[in-house]
Symmetry: D2
């Protein structure tokens, strides 16, 4: 079975990927390279190093990278240029992080001469697809090891037993019984699946949510933010210019405080099943609203509609794991082309779970008060033009109606 | 100038359409038929009759119709089956009422032998287009008179002077000076344009809003609703079956109480300009969320995505006034075809301006817990299938990567 | 390995499916039901019965059906209503037959109490997908046996050896050495793959083509046909009303005689690879042109454009095997809705491989000579309307140009 | 009426634009600048200079430009990168020339300080829209004079009378009575409208066609061409590298000789009516086929399908005159992005009106014979992967079928 000499494992330091690490050593007798990334999940990474060493990984085979800036700048922000939403609701927080991890994992494989990569995603979910499509697109000959699809540790009990036998420390919470939520977090969001969420007719427990207070517990006074955009990307909040990931962290903090960005939905997975998930995307929820707000005054109508038409397809590509595909890149070329003038500021109001745009302005605005006014416009717009406009737009229907009654 | 013998005027009984009535008589020497509809705008209609009589309209030429049921059943609900939103935000409250008014106006023209129709929409807005495309589609030879495009009463002062001269009573509010908001209301929404809204960087005044309390003023406790759907349409709230327009009125009441459905945006008009509008759509905002909720468990993934792909186009058609076009009907055939199993109930939570889906169930659900579970599924889903799925989906990218590096 | 008690096999009577029949008996010890359909492939079916009996199939387990009428009426014609073409060229001749075979195979499985179905498509092609998506959609619990993905008879030599050992008669052509073209035929087309076609830079040999003469060998005089349509479907040729499959057979004969409908292309398979195929679709090529011809005068512009926009997606669904999916049905509802007035006649000219529309008329025509004329139209169209039409359509670009230079 | 001090007129030197020139002088008392472009219409341009001088135009106000290279390089070729076809048939020969003329006309207006532009297109056609949308997009404050919409010379007789009175020489053909075809020609095509073409059920007369021989009169032997592409554009024919316009001229010559590229159709104009037109596009017809041929081996499947999905919209934009719009530019960014590897050669066969691709190759080909082969592929492709691929693609349909029967 061992045709993997060296394996780069996406390693969180948690129980599951520690078991995988051990299982890879046992099963493939491969040298293991661990890769742990900070994409803003809010956990210390150094413990992962200690654990890896304890599990026998050579220090030079331990990679721990801070990818937060790259994540927001090259993945989250490009995606938000398209106002991307999957199935009308989901802001793709998990989906957008996977291509970056896959890319970095392949880079490490190339640097270390590894011939295989491995991840801890199950065989039922979307993440396996997102990881592996990335691997294959970037290194077509790579061997992919997906332990959850291969091993027989499919129940919680078996997994814990294997861990125990392998000397992997098991934290109290795992022993406490009952599967935990399946969670994923990064700078864009935290997600929850599993446990009693598997019953779509049961409301999520308040205790589950982590990043946001309940709207009921949010401040009783609204808070206003001024958000500044340049060419489609957020560049400053309340006048403070920061890097993309710093801005998103700030929005998360503010959104979390005001109970913004909770979502409870049943979504359609790429592998063919429906799944219930809960998400907290405080900063992203604010960003989406604000980006639409700045586009509303700076984007040409037909360009905006073209983007709206293509968005569901673009969202589907990202959800399904095709970030590194040529069709996603082609769409991105279109999207980026449209953002040239998407600059200016937007004022949003945050209050008890809600975010609303209340004002916006731009030196590149296409809003023309002299034309839009209800008052006398001094001839800027000739109302009589509308007659011909309507008549010719109606012509095909008039002909049809006359001929067919 | 008089080639209109008999004109059916969409008559609200307000100042503007009263001036139009008089102007039509003066200018075209036509017999006038007034048509006043109750589409849930929340105003008494009988005063319109009295005014019309006072302005010399024969009793048999006065039509006052309650169209509320037809409006919601045949226009609002079919539109909501598509989760229709224009430019990512606007629920098309004004747009969806126009085709019904146009249709009824043409019916009255046919009944009364009128050769012309007239409306009070200006030459800068979308409504003129929506009315007139409807007229032409349904009665291709009709003469359309759009006074705002013809006359010279383009300032508020001139209009008031004309009214005064014609003996049309002018209410205090009109005299008070300053143009009022341009408003439109029906069972789906109330809208505001004009005045200081013409400056997109100024926040709307709290005093402007009419149907909703400010979220800050809404109850401090959330309220839950159980909404029941059959084949895509709402049929009951909290177990009480009612007619479509009664249900929507109920949702408006509840949404208004909780500060739900306010929207402030800059939109792109069909006539080519950007315009700032504010909207209150309390019931519609709840309905949209709930409809997506019931679809999330009853709609096939690809059907849902197909609908999402077509929705912006469908919304654009309605916004632009093409309800009576053959392409809107063709899209409706597709949309209606998808709603066969969209039945079940959704629980929503209303709180301080926000509405969220917290639970949903259906006898026709496609959610399959035995497959979706994180626990052992007893073989309902074979995780190994995912490997082939991913490999073949990756194949084209692997080939490209191998050949092109 | 035997969890298939009774298997319905799509059986052509040829060498490959005879080997499969034997292999199924050997491997699964199942009872076999053979299903052989006439979909216009132009071969005698009774020899299949004799062969099946010789291979030990019980007479009551032999199904031989003439599906030609159903094939053209319920599959080919509905597809042509959409002017369906895959990747700009391919008329989907193979793709459209598979759903019918799958459906009938499942019907027979239900009638005979079979728990499994089997087919002779390889693991590299599209047909396995088309068959199996049909099976699963129509009978979700069915066991599918795809011998080419399971057995080790992957070379021609092994297959022949197995046949010899099993006493399956091998015709001369098979022994002659060299793999034959992989061919597929039905009333819509005949296809060729494999052999030297695997080199896309080599021209196909003239001797390969079967249904059409070379254009060079076609008659030196053109031939004209009058084709009559009702609601989108062909109903008569040169005044002779016939059933759908009879009409298509007639078109094949005429097209073949004039060298019409040859196609040589590299296409993208659903399983991820490119493949070179050659096709002869004489009747379909004529039908497509004629259907566009009748639509050109009877279809509203926006409906026609909507269809053109959706067609590639619809074609992809059929190519990929999703005929029985809910999204194909939803699209069909739209397509069928548009064909209400697609009635009238089209005159086409056939000559040396080419087909062109030269005339068309309909009682439902939307062509209006009084408006279209270059001569004085007596006011049917007011040229001045065009000014307003253009000015408002240009408005957004003028504003942008003025503001941004 | 005179608010046009200096007018740049698109001047062909023919009767109609000469009358316009005179009428502009008479009506507006404006200084006239004539602009005559060689875009490959195949007419001498110097006579236009002589005529202009004779009509009183100052020599420095006469612009005669050879735009053939720019036309093909910057307009025709970019459009062909998208395989652009309007309504399934029309190659947009007229549409694609208008934006160039508009652009150059505005450049001349800017150079000469002109405040107005004028053209000879009628108020019923598409060309007025294409010209004027270009004018307005590029110079938003320009005054546009469209004489056909303003004057009363709407019959042939009145026009000739005006010409006679103005001393404009009238050629024999105009006097001969009967309106001529309305024709338009450039390097991409020649078009015919009007006269007896106004009856869609009458076949076009053979004598009408100008650029192509009848297929019946074409050579009895086929001719093969090797066409070489780089990044989506044709760069050489039979090994001879030439400039874009030289290559297109060569294709026209070859296509014309073989009777290729005739088209007779009823199309939908943007102004709302159906219109019958005949077109000869010999070179473009060959180019389209060849471009699809080279894309078939070099383009990723999903990119190709994305392009096919967007093409009708892109074609509509060009047909309707929106070349200079931001949405066309955004789409172009996507299209151009896809052409990076569209390089290689295609062999086409020309014969009696037909053009077919018979071979193609590329150093960037994505066709992989080791995978595509019907022979043993040595493990390049694992047929067993198909099982999982199909099963997961079928999963949603299986679940639905199981739950809903």
């Amino acid at each position: 079975m061992s045709d993997a000499n060296k394996v780069v494992l996406a390693y969180s330091g948690g129980l599951d990927t520690s078991v995988i690490l051990k299982w890879l050593q046992d099963t493939y007798q491969s040298e293991i390279v661990t890769f742990t990334a900070d994409i803003g999940q809010g956990e210390e990474l150094e413990p992962a190093r200690a654990k890896a060493i304890k599990l026998g990984i050579k220090p030079e085979n331990i990679y721990i990278d801070d990818l937060r800036e790259e994540f927001v700048r090259d993945f989250v922000f490009p995606m938000f240029r398209a106002n991307t939403v999957y199935e009308g609701e989901y802001l793709l927080g998990t989906s957008i992080a996977r291509p970056l991890i896959a890319k970095r994992q392949i880079e490490i494989a190339n640097q270390t001469g590894a011939d295989a990569v491995s991840h801890g995603a199950t065989g039922k979910g979307n993440d396996q697809v997102r990881f592996e499509l990335g691997y294959y697109a970037l290194k077509p000959g790579v061997k992919v090891i997906a332990p959850w699809r291969e091993w027989d540790l499919l129940s919680r009990e078996k997994l814990l037993a294997y861990a125990e036998k392998a000397g992997i420390p098991i934290e109290m919470k795992h022993k406490a019984g009952g599967a935990p939520y399946s969670m994923d977090a990064n700078l864009l969001h935290i997600s929850f699946e599993g446990r009693h969420l598997e019953d779509p007719k049961a409301e999520a427990e308040e205790s589950m949510w982590r990043w946001t207070v309940a709207p009921e517990a949010a401040p009783d006074a609204p808070e206003y933010l001024d958000m500044e955009f340049e060419q489609g990307d957020l560049v400053a909040i309340n006048g403070l210019r920061q890097k993309p990931h710093e801005l998103l962290a700030k929005l998360n903090e503010l959104g979390g405080k005001h109970g913004i960005g909770r979502l409870d939905l049943v979504e359609n997975r790429y592998v063919g099943m429906k799944s219930r998930g809960c998400y907290e995307t405080p900063g992203g929820t604010i960003l989406l609203k604000a980006h639409r707000g700045i586009e509303s005054i700076t984007l040409d109508r037909e360009v905006a509609h073209l983007k709206d038409n293509l968005m569901p397809r673009y969202a589907e590509l990202i959800y399904n794991g095709y970030w590194w595909s040529p069709e996603r890149r082609a769409l991105q070329a279109l999207i980026d082309n449209t953002q040239q003038y998407v600059s200016g500021w937007v004022r949003v109001k945050l209050y008890k779970g809600g975010v609303s745009v209340v004002a916006r302005d731009s030196k590149d605005t296409l809003f023309d008060q002299t034309i839009a006014t209800f008052d006398d416009d001094g001839g800027a717009y000739n109302q009589k033009d509308a007659e011909g406009f309507i008549k010719l737009n109606a012509l095909r229907m008039r002909i049809a109606s006359r001929k067919r009654g």
